[in-house]
């Protein structure tokens, strides 16, 4: 089926080469980081994780969100998702690929990555995270490829793939739960030490991921002959809305606990993120952008007449995605490190090389996604 990705028009190839050019620049930048060390990033002794790990965390959510198509279609026989469920599964593959790459570029000694396998350590959440992520990548590759292959031949998918599909449902929940446990089990980092962390991760994943899917489905309709249909997109829109409300609610719970309890350590990260502490306020504009976008998106999504207009829906999804990207892909990680373990403040801001490498990983993910979607769309167009 991969041969279908080799046949494309001028626009397709231009897009591929733009992505390859970005990837090329990013690879060169990464080589600089490889030689000179992570010192070329904005990271520090006090803020030892940043943009890379934030992107990793955010993308695990995007990957897990495929389950929002799989559950209605396979468990509730919601037939309207039949055409687009493959878009969700392929998005998961691209997202997990990016997750693995973000972990890789964040490592101080990337050549030792196999140590995680050579010295398996069950008490480390990171060990489990690598296990569930690799498993999820495998599941989606097998499921996506098999069902699409059957589709191409006009036959039903083989029976053996059904149990794998059912397995992928709890597995999707597990990847994001385990990722939340990376943070939520650490003593002494007040911002992360919260039992609702995994719940919040899932809520934001199940709104941000489907929001991205809506945008992608609309792009697919615009640029190809394959139409995902009006109703599936509307159904996704409702999922985005409910999940976003859950996410904002859970964030509200965090604010209540921190400020009503009046415990300094719990309030400080919120002060830093939303108001700044003693003039240290690099993240304040970003966090407020995230908040305003979240509320605006919710208003546009919750009013049925607005949501039913696809242009409004697309706009709402874009700002919602940006809102969650800031909140989870950046603020969440930095808020855990500022203030630091001594209640002092060292601020963090990504450097240009760090941003280029980040963009490069996104470009690789986009390339994977483009190729997979090209295959899927070609099969659908032929059907």
């Amino acid at each position: 089926m991969l041969d279908k990705a080799l046949i494309g028009g001028r626009r397709y190839w231009t897009w591929i080469f733009i992505l390859l050019a970005i990837i090329g620049v990013a690879v060169l930048t990464y080589l600089k980081q490889f030689n000179e060390g992570l010192g070329i990033t904005g990271l520090s002794r006090d803020v030892s994780w940043g943009l890379y790990i934030g992107q990793f965390t955010f993308l695990v959510g995007v990957a897990a969100s495929a389950v929002m198509l799989v559950i209605p279609y396979y468990l509730h026989d919601f037939k309207k998702f039949g055409k687009i469920v493959i878009l969700g599964e392929f998005l998961a593959i691209a997202a997990v690929t990016m997750c693995i790459l973000f972990i890789f570029v964040d490592m101080g000694q990337p050549m030792r990555i196999m140590n995680v396998v050579l010295h398996p350590t069950p008490n480390s959440v990171m060990f489990w995270d690598s296990v569930v992520l690799a498993g999820y990548l495998g599941l989606n590759l097998v499921i996506g490829w098999t069902t699409l292959g059957a589709d191409r031949k006009g036959v039903k998918p083989p029976q053996w793939v059904k149990p794998l599909i059912y397995l992928s449902v709890p597995w999707a929940v597990s990847i994001h739960t385990v990722t939340a446990f990376l943070y939520a089990g650490i003593p002494g980092r007040h911002f992360w030490l919260t039992a609702v962390m995994a719940a919040r991760f899932l809520a934001s994943a199940f709104s941000g991921g489907p929001a991205l899917l809506i945008i992608l489905a609309l792009l697919v309709r615009k640029y190809t002959k394959f139409d995902p249909g009006y109703e599936p997109i509307q159904a996704l829109g409702k999922i985005v809305t409910y999940a976003m409300f859950a996410n904002v609610f859970l964030l509200g719970l965090e604010f209540f606990t921190a400020f009503y309890s009046n415990i300094p350590g719990h309030m400080h990260p919120f002060h830093y993120l939303y108001a700044g502490i003693e003039g240290h306020n690099k993240l304040v504009p970003l966090m407020w952008t995230s908040s305003i976008f979240a509320i605006a998106a919710l208003v546009l999504l919750v009013v049925p007449s607005l949501r039913k207009n696809e242009k409004v829906l697309a706009f709402a999804c874009v700002i919602l995605f940006i809102s969650l990207w800031i909140d989870k892909g950046f603020g969440l990680v930095i808020g855990g490190f500022v203030p630091n373990m001594f209640e002092g403040i060292t601020e963090y801001w990504p450097t240009l090389p760090e941003a280029i490498i980040t963009l490069g990983v996104w470009a690789i993910g986009t390339l994977v996604l483009t190729v997979l979607y090209k295959v899927a769309v070609s099969v659908r167009e032929a059907a």
Partner: protein, 281 residues
């Protein structure tokens, strides 16, 4: 074809298993030799059930009292000196095994008290790895590169560390440093971070991208010597076995008022600070 695919796979499988088995026997033989060599430790080695420290703040008076401990540690362990870098970068990339800070930052979860004894407020406290009995860093490490020894010392294998920095996120005491730049490198003016004249050839330098911290001088314990900081501290840093009721550390802890950093987190730090009081207590 004389054999079908199934038969072929069977043969390949069996012979692979046999090959691995053979290698295991060979390795087993070789390893037994190594273990025999390791069973006779240096008789001078200092041993304990749980090593710990007492930092007696009454005995730390001048800037020099602090600096000689820091220098002793950083010099013998080839800790890179980044002080020649611009301040903004130095703060971010700094590597330190032992350093000082004020009361508020050393004990950030101690009750805030604006009426606190001024002398205590302005005192400089020593900070280094707490060698916790329940270390969060060890719990999170995905490769066992950081681990707790039987004598309670939390150690770091810099050759296994993958540089994921999960331990830095997990340590509630900020005890861990990452090599953001090559510690064997030079600053912009060509000044090396480890002075070749001062470099201790007996102790390894580190490479880029690994985490390091205080190791309670295990290399010195193995030769029957006290940790370097304790040795030069004139009794301000006392090292001993916390599980031995007759050890000096236990006697001080029993007799004087001591506090530990962030005890509420349950990591059970092994550094006890004797604060104030002294003769007045």
């Amino acid at each position: 074809m004389s054999i079908n695919r199934r038969q072929f796979l069977k043969i390949v499988g069996v012979s692979t298993a046999a090959g691995i088995g053979g290698a295991a026997v060979f390795n087993g033989l070789r390893n037994s030799g190594l273990e025999a060599a390791q069973t006779s430790p240096d008789p001078r080695t200092l041993t304990a059930k749980r090593w710990g420290f007492v930092v007696d703040m009454d005995k730390l008076k001048s800037e020099e009292d602090y600096q000689k401990c820091i220098d002793a540690c950083h010099n013998i362990h080839n800790v890179p000196d980044l002080s020649s870098l611009p301040e903004e970068i130095r703060i971010r990339h700094e590597v330190k095994w032992i350093w000082t800070d004020n009361f508020e930052r050393t004990f950030p979860t101690a009750p805030e008290d604006e009426y606190q004894n001024v002398e205590l407020k302005e005192k400089r406290f020593f900070l280094f790895c707490n060698h916790c009995a329940q270390p969060a860093c060890v719990r999170v490490c995905p490769t066992k590169a950081t681990f707790k020894r039987k004598d309670g010392v939390v150690m770091q294998d810099m050759h296994r560390c993958i540089g994921c920095r999960f331990c830095m996120a997990a340590c509630p005491f900020g005890a861990r440093s990452f090599n953001w730049r090559d510690p064997r490198g030079k600053d912009g003016n060509g000044k090396p971070f480890i002075d070749p004249a001062k470099e201790n050839k007996e102790y390894p330098t580190r490479m880029i991208g690994v985490v390091e911290k205080c190791t309670a001088c295990t290399e010195r314990l193995a030769k029957g010597m006290q940790p370097a900081c304790a040795e030069v501290s004139n009794g301000a840093i006392v090292f001993g076995d916390l599980e031995d009721p007759n050890s000096e550390v236990r006697k001080i802890i029993a007799a004087k008022y001591t506090i530990r950093r962030k005890p509420e987190l349950g990591t059970q730090p092994s550094i006890y600070y004797v604060i104030g009081g002294g003769e007045h207590a």
